[in-house]
Symmetry: C2
Subunit: 193 residues, 2 copies
């Protein structure tokens, strides 16, 4: 609530930088994005930008964490992820190719162990799949979902389909209706014998 205070301006600028960085990282990938370009877009010199984020990696991780928050926070009531939320997120993402690109390409790039964001993505997938598996298990126990498939397997598959479809969609947007396809899959899994 402290919209005035010693840090007000700095915080606003930080937000502006994160917006621009999200845009650039999402559009061009980590390696091809330069600090100079992000600085330029926010009306700073490169050195000025480094006052806010003293390394490129630091800025990158801040961008990832912030996007993660968006996907989690401003939604429904529960703080738990669920199948429904995953489906919603996929549908929503069709309007934000930059975000999708960011996550698809960043998670792929972070794959090698020494990579900057490796830990971030490992944790994120573990958490996401665990949450969704919990939701599926609850639905199974309530008799609303088939027990023909293990909840953990189903969760992992749904997350995998979401990622894979996003990749197909990014490469060829007209060829895929992501939300429709993943919804069909879930409707089948839900009633499998």
């Amino acid at each position: 609530m402290a919209s005035r205070g010693p840090y007000a301006k700095g915080l606003a600028k930080r937000g502006e930088i994160l917006d621009a960085a999200l845009e650039e990282f999402g559009r061009r990938g980590y390696d091809r994005t330069s600090m100079r370009e992000i600085a330029r877009q926010t009306g700073l010199s490169q050195a000025g930008l480094l006052h806010y984020f003293s390394t490129k990696e630091e800025l990158f991780l801040a961008v990832l964490r912030r996007r993660d928050d968006r996907a989690t926070a401003p939604d429904e009531d529960s703080h738990i992820h669920s199948v429904k939320r995953l489906l919603d997120a996929v549908a929503r993402n069709a309007g934000e190719p930059g975000l999708v690109r960011l996550f698809v390409s960043m998670s792929a790039e972070s794959v090698d162990g020494d990579g900057m964001a490796h830990g971030f993505f490992v944790d994120r997938y573990r958490w996401l799949i665990h949450e969704i598996a919990g939701d599926i298990r609850a639905q199974q126990e309530a008799g609303k979902a088939s027990t023909a498939i293990d909840a953990e397997d189903a969760a992992s598959i749904l997350v995998a389909v979401a990622d894979g479809l996003q990749l197909q969609w990014l490469l060829d947007p007209d060829s895929v209706d992501m939300a429709d396809r993943i919804a069909k899959l879930w409707s089948i899994l839900k009633v499998a014998e």
Copy 2:
């Protein structure tokens, strides 16, 4: 058959370069891989390497095409891709993280329209899904697969799961048995009501 001739040495060297490049691109991604490093690994100077592939992009595309061949050619009888082949490829890939990494990260990196390999991956996905959809349709007509889901949808989903699971597996190899999971999915899709 011409193991001797004016080009024999050049061709062998080309192969050696492609092997090293595949390894490096797969391990570090396109941007982080330098021509100098590939040259070093093949006992060439950077300029010497450029005699074989005059730009980095050219080398990269040669690597992609070659890997694509591998996945297609040395398999069974038919020249057509199929669900079975996709499942086999996923199982096989668990032994070749470098290859998986190459394709996951390269396809993600190629996402922007101006990217070097965009066309390659767009074509590849179209073809792959089309082939697999054809196989599924054939199974449906033979009464071996359920018609509860559209063949095109199912093919897209299976390819998406393969990609997504590979990503999960790369990030956290112990957490996923890719082949098992995708096989379970297919067994469910096959008998869906």
